[in-house]
C-alpha cells in the first residue's frame, strides 16, 4: 500500500504488471484503458519508452469512493521487462498490493518466463514482500499465436500453486479484463483482512471489483465487441 490516511479518508493502492520483456504488459494496460469505462479512471501515462520498450513504467490510475467516504486510488503499473532494468523493477514493486505476472505463451519464451518469475520472487523478497501473502495472478498472453504452450501443460504446472491462471490475447483484447478482475478480487481480500473495507467502510468485494472493471456499456454487447476491435 502506497498510502493510507485515516484522517483524510484516503487510501492509495498499487498493482503491478510484471513479466519478461515484450510479454505484453504495456499492451495489457493499453487494452484496459480502451475497454474499461472512462469514468472512475484516469488516463494511461506512458513514462518514456525507447523503441516501444518500457524504460521506467506505465501507469493507469483508478478511483473509487467507498460508502463510508473513503477515497480509494488504485495505481496500476507495468515494470520494464528487459533484464537490465532490474533496479527500476524493484522500485516499482515496492509496497505493491498485488502482482499480475504476464507470461509469454510462445514456446520459445518458456525460459524467459521462468527467469522473470524467479526475478519476481527475488525482488519481492528484497522489497520485503512475502510471495506467499501478496495477491498474485498469472496470465499467459499471446494465445492468438501459433507454437504456444498448450493450456493443459500450463494448468498442470501452475494448477498446484493455487494461483489464478488466465489465458489471454492482449492483442485481440480478451482475457485482459479477467486477469485484472482476478487480481482486483485477490487484492480486495488482502486489504480487507487488515483494513476491514466491508466492516468499516461498507465496501464489499463485488462492488469493489465491479467498479474497477465496468465497461462503457455493460448491457450492449455490440459496443463491447466494437471496442475490442478498435
Amino acid at each position: 500500500m502506497i498510502e493510507y490516511d485515516e484522517l483524510e479518508k484516503r487510501m492509495v493502492l498499487k498493482l503491478v504488471y510484471y513479466g519478461p520483456a515484450l510479454s505484453g504488459k504495456t499492451t495489457n494496460l493499453l487494452r484496459l484503458h480502451d475497454l474499461l469505462e472512462r469514468k472512475g479512471r484516469g488516463d494511461l501515462m506512458v513514462l518514456d519508452t525507447k523503441d516501444d520498450r518500457t524504460i521506467f513504467f506505465d501507469l493507469l490510475p483508478f478511483f473509487l469512493v467507498a460508502p463510508s467516504g473513503l477515497k480509494i486510488k488504485l495505481k496500476v503499473y507495468t515494470v520494464p521487462g528487459q533484464v537490465r532494468h532490474d533496479s527500476t523493477r524493484k522500485a516499482v514493486l515496492q509496497r505493491a498490493d498485488g502482482v499480475a505476472f504476464i507470461a509469454d505463451s510462445q514456446l520459445s519464451e518458456a525460459s524467459n518466463n521462468f527467469e522473470s518469475f524467479s526475478n519476481l520472487e527475488k525482488n519481492l523478497a528484497i522489497v520485503g514482500l512475502d510471495i506467499e501473502e501478496i495477491p498474485l495472478v498469472i496470465q499467459f498472453n499471446k494465445r492468438d499465436l501459433p507454437d504456444i504452450i498448450p493450456e493443459e501443460d500450463i494448468k498442470r504446472v501452475w494448477g498446484p500453486s493455487g494461483m489464478p491462471v488466465l489465458m489471454a490475447s492482449a492483442l485481440e483484447g480478451w482475457g485482459v479484463i479477467e486477469t485484472f478482475r482476478n487480481l482486483a478480487e485477490l487484492a480486495y481480500q488482502h486489504i480487507d483482512k487488515r483494513y476491514e473495507l466491508k466492516e468499516n467502510h461498507g465496501l464489499d468485494k463485488e462492488t469493489f471489483v465491479l467498479k474497477l472493471t465496468r465497461r462503457p456499456d455493460e448491457a450492449g454487447n455490440n459496443t463491447v465487441k466494437n471496442s475490442i476491435r478498435t
Partner: protein, 433 residues
C-alpha cells in the same frame, strides 16, 4: 551541492507516492500564466487545492455582477484542485475560452513536470539503491524464495516425468496390443494347421502299416517265384519287370520316405506348438517358466529370420523357475535377437548365455554387429528412438524390453563398441515364495 546530496541519500522514494500540485509546479511556472489571464481581460485567476485552499492568486475579485468559470485540475487523472477564472458577466463566452486555454496549459506543465520528476526520481533511487541491494541480496534471499523456486522447478520436472510416463505407458500398450494380435493370429494358424496335420500324421502311420503289408505280400510272391512249378519264362520276366521298376531301391527307400514324412509332420507340430507357446495363448497371464526353454522357443520361431551362416553359441546353465508373463518375456528375447540380426555385418555370431547368481538370473546376448555409437547409447531405450529407415523400425523394441524387465524388478543394460558388436545384459530377481 552538499545539501542536494544529503537529500538524495535520505529519499525514501516510492514509485507511486502521492504528490500535491505545489510539489510539481513552481510559482515561477504558474504565476506568468495567471498574470497573462488577467492581462487578457479576466479580473482574477486562482488555483486552489482540493480543500479549497488558494495556492496561487492573481488579480482581485470583481465587484458587482460577475461570472466565474471553475474547472478541475487533474493529476494522474484525479481531480486535485481547481482553477477559477472570474470576470465581467458580459465576457462570459470569452472567459470560458480563456479558462479552457489556461487549464490545458496547466495540465501540460503538470504532466511534463510529473513525468520528469518520476523519471529522475526513479533514476536517482535506482542509482542509490544499487549498493545497498548488493549487500542485501545475500542476506535477504528468504526461505520463501528458494521454496518457490523449488516448487517451480519441480513442477516443470514433474510435467516432463509425467509426459515420459505416459509415453512409456502408451508404448507398452502398443506392444501388448501387438502381442495380443500375434497371439490371436498364432491361435488361428495353429488351429488351422493342427487339424490337417493330425490326419496327415495318422494317415502316414496307417499308410506305413499298409505298405508293410504290401511288402509282406511282395516278399511272399518273390518266395513263391522260387517254386519249381513256376515256369522259367515267368520267373525271368518277373525279374526283368522288378529290375525295370527299380523295386529293390524303392523297397529300401519307402521306409526312409515314410520316416522322413513323419519327422516332417512332427516338426511342423513342434513349430505350431512353439508358436502357441511363444504367444502363450494357452496359458493365463502368469506362469512359472524355464528361461532357457523360452529362449530356445524364441529362436525356433525366428528360424526363418536367422540368416544363413549365422553361428549361435549357447552357454546355458540350469535356472530356477521364473514367474512371469511368458509372452512378454519372449517378446524381450525376440526384440533383442532381431536387433542383433538387423545389426549384423557379414555373418552374425550370436552368443547367448544364462546363469544364476545371488538370487538373480542373468541372461546375456552378445553379437558381433555394427555396435551402438556412444552418442546414442543412452537413447536406445527411449520410445520411438530408432536409427532405421522410416517404416522399418518402430523404435519400440527396446522400450518394450525395458518396460518388461524393469517391471519384474530387473535391469537391462547395454555395452557396446562401435563396429565390434553389442552386449545386452538382463538380470531378473528370483523371488522365493
Amino acid at each position: 551541492m552538499e545539501k542536494k546530496q544529503k537529500r538524495a541519500e535520505n529519499i525514501e522514494y516510492i514509485v507511486g507516492a502521492e504528490k500535491k500540485i505545489q510539489d510539481i509546479i513552481t510559482d515561477a511556472e504558474v504565476m506568468p500564466i495567471l498574470k497573462g489571464a488577467v492581462k487578457a481581460g479576466a479580473s482574477s485567476a486562482i488555483i486552489a487545492d482540493a480543500q479549497n485552499k488558494n495556492l496561487w492568486t492573481c488579480g482581485s475579485h470583481p465587484e458587482g455582477s460577475f461570472f466565474t468559470e471553475t474547472l478541475p485540475v487533474y493529476l494522474e487523472g484525479e481531480a486535485v484542485g481547481k482553477l477559477e477564472v472570474a470576470g465581467d458577466s458580459k465576457d462570459r463566452e470569452y472567459l470560458r475560452g480563456l479558462s479552457g486555454l489556461l487549464i490545458d496549459t496547466i495540465h501540460m506543465i503538470l504532466h511534463t513536470n510529473l513525468k520528469r520528476m518520476l523519471t529522475t526520481e526513479t533514476h536517482t533511487t535506482v542509482v542509490n539503491k544499487s549498493y545497498e541491494e548488493l549487500l542485501e541480496i545475500n542476506r535477504k534471499l528468504s526461505i520463501s524464495e528458494s521454496r518457490y523456486r523449488e516448487l517451480a522447478e519441480n513442477l516443470e520436472k514433474k510435467v516432463q516425468e509425467r509426459t515420459e510416463e505416459l509415453r512409456r505407458a502408451h508404448a507398452g500398450m502398443l506392444q501388448q496390443e501387438k502381442m495380443a494380435a500375434i497371439g490371436q493370429l498364432a491361435a488361428g494358424v495353429a488351429h488351422e494347421i493342427n487339424n490337417p496335420l493330425g490326419f496327415i500324421s495318422s494317415n502316414i502311420n496307417t499308410f506305413s502299416k499298409y505298405v508293410s503289408r504290401l511288402k509282406d505280400m511282395v516278399a511272399f510272391y518273390n518266395a513263391s517265384l522260387g517254386d519249381s512249378r513256376v515256369p522259367e519264362s515267368v520267373r525271368k520276366s518277373s525279374r526283368q519287370k522288378w529290375d525295370a521298376l527299380k523295386l529293390d531301391f524303392i523297397s529300401s527307400d519307402i521306409e526312409e520316405l515314410i520316416k522322413q514324412s513323419l519327422e516332417g509332420a512332427e516338426r511342423v507340430k513342434k513349430i505350431v506348438s512353439d508358436l502357441k507357446g511363444f504367444s502363450h495363448i494357452d496359458e493365463g497371464t502368469e506362469a512359472v517358466i524355464d528361461i532357457n526353454t523360452e529362449i530356445d522357443r524364441t529362436l525356433n520361431v525366428l528360424t526363418h529370420e536367422i540368416p544363413e551362416g549365422t553361428e549361435i553359441i549357447k552357454d546355458y546353465h540350469p535356472l530356477p523357475g521364473f514367474k512371469c508373463n511368458p509372452a512378454l518375456l519372449c517378446q524381450v528375447f525376440l526384440n533383442i535377437i532381431l536387433n542383433a540380426i538387423q545389426a549384423k555385418k557379414l555373418t552374425l555370431k550370436l552368443f547367448i548365455s544364462t546363469g544364476y547368481n545371488n538370487s538373480r538370473i542373468v541372461i546375456r546376448f552378445s553379437d558381433n554387429g555394427r555396435g551402438i555409437p556412444e552418442e546414442i547409447r543412452s537413447r536406445i531405450f527411449e520410445p520411438f528412438y530408432t536409427t532405421k529407415d522410416v517404416g522399418k523400425g518402430t523404435g519400440m523394441g527396446l522400450t518394450a524390453a525395458y518396460e518388461t524387465i524393469t517391471g519384474y524388478g530387473g535391469t537391462i543394460e547395454v555395452e557396446s563398441r562401435t563396429e565390434e558388436g553389442a552386449t545386452f545384459t538382463i538380470t531378473l530377481p528370483v523371488k522365493r515364495e
